[in-house]
């Protein structure tokens, strides 16, 4: 046992291990194929007001599946058994609102969402350490998201940031682009123009950095450099990032000399205010309620976070002149009307039929199934760690367990293969991923015999009978109950086992669940 594990042990003992009741929950004893589809707490009347309540419809996913989607999409892990018990105790008609309330109050929500947004804003690299602290920026974003700051304000603060990158975290959005090998001091206007256009406006205007668009597209080289020009005054000084009067100079293709490039925007020039510093003007233009691209890009990104797939195929490329899906514009409008309230947007998306559709089945009256997508590596790592615990990991637990989590995830994520900024692209499973889950350290250590730390062992010993043990393991790992076939299969495996043999049988049960398609994919 490592020193960290001893410390964790102490921590858990001192916190009081009061989770036995989670395993002793006989009231929920049933199988997935015996009418759990809509998790009917039928004693509670259904009302028309709750968006999750629909007449029985086999094209919709079960409540527990929806719960799993929301937890994975918004906190990065599957729900704990503790949360599942709470969820099932709620009347059906309150489950969506209660779930979102639970999630919005959970610090993992801010952390997880902040990392997703940070990938779009500054990428995944740690960058020039002397002037850039990615962690500071992510923590700051996390706080803003947790306290539900309007998204347009968050973005304006990034674009207009000034001061020292350590005490003003949002400055890191700008200093992330500083290239220590570059003679130019201060942030790189060209990289910033690319970031702003892609991350906030869903426009890939950076393709015309070196020449006009060769494919008859609307953008000209000039559009890009005029956008870059807004950042020319952002310079480094002894007091951090300051705003100067420095002009932006560039030599266009086929022009003999460099010229001063004016700061103008590539579309909707009428929305650009006249007053303010160049970055203040740009920030107001980008986030202007009539600049629909801004809201659409936000909708596409939040949709991507919740579905693991954007609404429009490329998360940072939304057409300006062509029509977009009606749903996207409805969501964009409601987002603007609600002052860029992220929680409102999430609530609205969670209420859509698209989010509630099942991912299985054939006939769906022409509508698309919920997309089956591969979980991102930190979702898999987080879910393995969560499944090893009956209580919720990371909400109130001590900073130490958070550190352990980060350590374990780091190594795992590297092996599982992080897609970086391209994390919403559709992908199949890979051989290294299967090797990591089948033989890797994280799964082994989180499932081996350990009556203190590992849920597999604890469930095996605490459950009153084999069926309860199996059902509890299924809920803890797959957020559902076993089918009759599954129950019968594992009953045979657990039957008559004691001590080490039982711990091993439970580990093998966990191994099978953790190595399944169902565990590794969002469905």
């Amino acid at each position: 046992m490592s020193r960290l594990n001893y410390m964790l042990l102490w921590l858990m003992l001192s916190a009081g291990m009061s989770s036995w009741w989670l395993v002793e929950h006989r009231a929920f004893h049933r199988t997935a194929d015996s009418g759990d589809t809509h998790s009917g707490s039928d004693q509670h009347p259904r009302t028309e007001s709750d968006p999750w309540i629909q007449p029985e419809d086999e094209n919709l996913a079960s409540d527990l599946t929806l719960f799993r989607r929301l937890c994975l999409g918004l906190t990065g892990t599957i729900p704990s058994l503790e949360w599942i018990r709470t969820f099932e105790s709620w009347p059906h008609e309150t489950r969506l609102n209660n779930t979102l309330q639970l999630i919005f109050e959970d610090p993992r929500y801010g952390d997880y969402m902040a990392e997703r947004f940070a990938r779009a804003f500054v990428g995944v690299e740690n960058g020039p350490f002397l002037v850039y602290r990615r962690r500071r920026l992510v923590d700051d974003l996390s706080e803003s998201i947790q306290s539900n700051q309007p998204y347009d304000r968050i973005v304006r603060e990034l674009i207009t940031a000034q001061g020292v990158w350590t005490s003003h975290p949002e400055v890191n959005f700008l200093t992330a682009t500083i290239d220590p090998n570059n003679d130019k001091e201060g942030p790189d206007e060209v990289k910033l123009a690319a970031r702003v256009s892609r991350a906030f406006l869903g426009v890939r205007i950076d393709c015309v950095q070196c020449h006009d668009d060769m494919f008859g597209n609307r953008w000209k080289q000039q559009d890009f450099h005029q956008l870059a020009s807004f950042f020319a005054g952002a310079e480094m000084s002894l007091t951090g990032l300051v705003e100067s009067e420095k002009p932006y100079e560039y030599r266009y293709k086929r022009k003999p000399e460099t010229e001063v490039v004016p700061a103008t925007v590539p579309f909707l020039p009428e929305l650009l205010p006249q007053e303010g510093t160049p970055r203040e003007r740009l920030a107001k233009w980008v986030t202007h309620p009539e600049n629909l691209s801004f809201a659409r890009t936000l909708v596409n990104r939040v949709w991507a976070i919740m579905f693991n797939r954007p609404l429009l195929e490329q998360v940072d490329s939304i057409p300006i002149d062509e029509p977009v899906p009606v749903l996207m514009d409805q969501l964009a409008r409601t987002t603007i009307d609600h002052g860029f309230d992220l929680q409102h947007l999430i609530r609205t998306i969670a209420s859509t039929e698209a989010f509630r559709r099942t991912s299985s089945g054939g006939e769906t009256d022409g509508k698309e199934l919920f997309p089956l997508t591969r979980l991102r590596p930190e979702q898999v790592a987080g879910s393995i760690i969560q499944s090893a615990s009956l209580e919720t990991v990371g909400v109130d637990s001590h900073i130490l367990s958070r550190i352990i989590r980060v350590l374990q995830q780091g190594e795992f994520i590297q092996r599982y293969g992080d897609a970086g900024e391209a994390e919403f692209e559709a992908r199949s499973g890979t051989i290294p991923q299967r090797l990591t889950l089948m033989n890797g350290k994280l799964v082994h250590e989180r499932t081996e015999k350990n009556p203190i730390l590992n849920a597999a062992t604890r469930i095996g010993f605490l459950a009153t009978d084999d069926a309860t043990a199996i059902e509890t393991a299924y809920l803890t790992v797959l957020t559902r109950r076993p089918t009759t076939d599954e129950l019968n299969h594992f009953k045979k495996r657990l039957s008559g086992t004691h001590k080490d043999a039982r711990a091993n049988a439970m580990q093998d049960l966990y191994w099978a669940l953790l190595n399944s398609t169902e565990f590794a994919w969002n469905h």
Binding site: C210, P432, N439, D508, S516
Partner: protein, 427 residues
């Protein structure tokens, strides 16, 4: 070092006519005598696929032709660049590539590659697949096409491997993720997690239980889900085959002699090249090894020099090693990036993207030896190199050397038939 002339050269003269016609029309007075005396040719005594393999050394970001294979020492395009004489008469490499100098008669250099894409992502797509990006279909990379078309044989480890991939590794495209390259990092570390943690009997029980769980999930879903989308069970099976195979030793470069490892250089890329050789020897069909960081918009010389210091020992050791083991004649080696760099240096002492005449080194597998194809304008102005080689033509030629017919069509998932390559085989 004198070349062993293993193969007869065939068809040396076939493409001269068109080339001379083009150069006369263009009034290209700057053509070097070398480029005029050399037409591209393939040696075809091994014109079948048996045992043939491809190694792509991918110089990501776009290497500068002027600092590598096309130095133009008498012009003002690359001031200060030194040159090195090579075993090809009158052909010089840029300084830094000295280890390759006496191997050049084993390889050929195309100095006149032309691409239609000047953006990294699109450029990588174009060169790796031979096609331009197309919103309706994702084209497979060269390695994926080859693995799709040729039998896998007795290989129990992945047949298509990408070592040190960056964000755009070789992929299966419309052929499916089954043909994506298996990605791995620095071979200094063994492939992780290839040893199962329980005995075989218990492993079997675990796998039986997994089947039960999988059946429950697949109930009511598309029966081809695993085949077409998740590849979950498929990759488990491939992983199991790999875990149980002795061939995983090919990944472990610690099993190579110390002197051998030293020759490739103490770098991740050098180790990648050594692993590539070991994998090919084991029967793997296609390996790409990436050396990133050539995108020298700023401080071009320094940036290029650093990468060249890594490339030179690795590439020369690989060529020498393949030749010494008699693997070169069945292994195509390609070395290049998504484009070259502008002949003129920019105000930041950098060079920008230049798809209009850049270099690719080609060797082995039936490629001609000791040839220098095409030439770029020593004044740095022309966007039309002499004897231009289109990206698709290089693809068609490699496919041809591997015994494939580039004109063969595959029906893509959208129902549109696509040729393996729409290029022309260079003869």
């Amino acid at each position: 070092m004198k070349p062993l002339n293993l193969h007869q050269c065939a068809g040396c003269s076939t493409s001269r006519r068109g080339f001379l016609k083009a150069s006369a029309a263009a009034g290209m007075t700057w053509l070097s005598p070398i480029s005029q005396s050399l037409a591209f040719s393939a040696e075809n005594d091994l014109n079948h696929s048996e045992g043939k393999a491809v190694i792509l050394l991918w110089l990501a970001g776009g290497p500068s032709q002027l600092e590598t294979f096309d130095p133009h020492p008498h012009s003002d395009l690359a001031p200060g660049v030194k040159v090195v004489n090579t075993s090809i008469p009158d052909y010089q490499l840029a300084g830094g590539l000295e280890p390759l100098a006496d191997l050049m008669d084993q390889v050929s250099v195309i100095r006149s590659m032309i691409s239609l894409e000047g953006d990294h992502e699109r450029g990588v797509y174009h060169i790796k697949s031979g096609y331009r990006p197309d919103p309706t279909v994702v084209h497979p990379s060269l390695g994926a096409i080859i693995c799709h078309e040729l039998p896998k044989g007795a290989v129990e480890i992945p047949n298509h491997i990408s070592i040190l991939p960056n964000q755009w590794p070789a992929r299966g495209g419309y052929l499916g993720a089954r043909f994506d390259a298996f990605q791995m990092g620095d071979p200094a570390d063994p492939i992780p997690d290839v040893t199962q943690r329980v005995d075989e009997e218990r492993m079997q029980r675990r796998l039986e239980s997994l089947d039960v769980v999988e059946r429950a999930f697949l109930a009511g879903r598309d029966p081809e889900l695993d085949l077409l989308q998740t590849r979950h069970r498929a990759t488990i099976n491939e992983a199991l085959r790999m875990m149980r195979s002795d061939q995983v030793k090919a990944f472990d470069i610690q099993l190579a002699a110390q002197a051998e490892r030293a020759a490739y250089g103490d770098t991740a890329f050098g180790r990648g090249c050594l692993a590539a050789r070991r994998l090919i020897e084991t029967g793997v069909r296609c390996v790409e090894v990436t050396l990133d960081g050539w995108d020298s918009h700023v401080n071009n010389r320094e940036t290029q020099a650093k990468r060249i210091a890594t490339l030179a020992p690795a590439l020369s050791a690989l060529i020498r090693d393949l030749k010494d083991r008699d693997l070169l004649r069945r292994t195509v080696v390609l070395c290049g990036g998504e484009f070259g760099r502008t002949p003129r240096i920019n105000p930041l002492e950098g060079r920008d993207h230049w798809p209009h005449g850049f270099s690719f080194l080609v060797a082995g597998g039936g490629f001609a030896k000791g040839r220098v194809i095409g030439a770029t304008d020593p004044a740095g102005d022309s966007k039309e190199p002499d004897h231009p080689v289109r990206v698709a033509d290089l693809h068609a030629t490699v496919q041809h050397l591997l015994g494939l017919d580039p004109e063969k069509e595959i029906i893509t998932p959208i129902g549109r038939p696509l040729a393996l390559s729409d290029g022309r085989v260079l003869t």
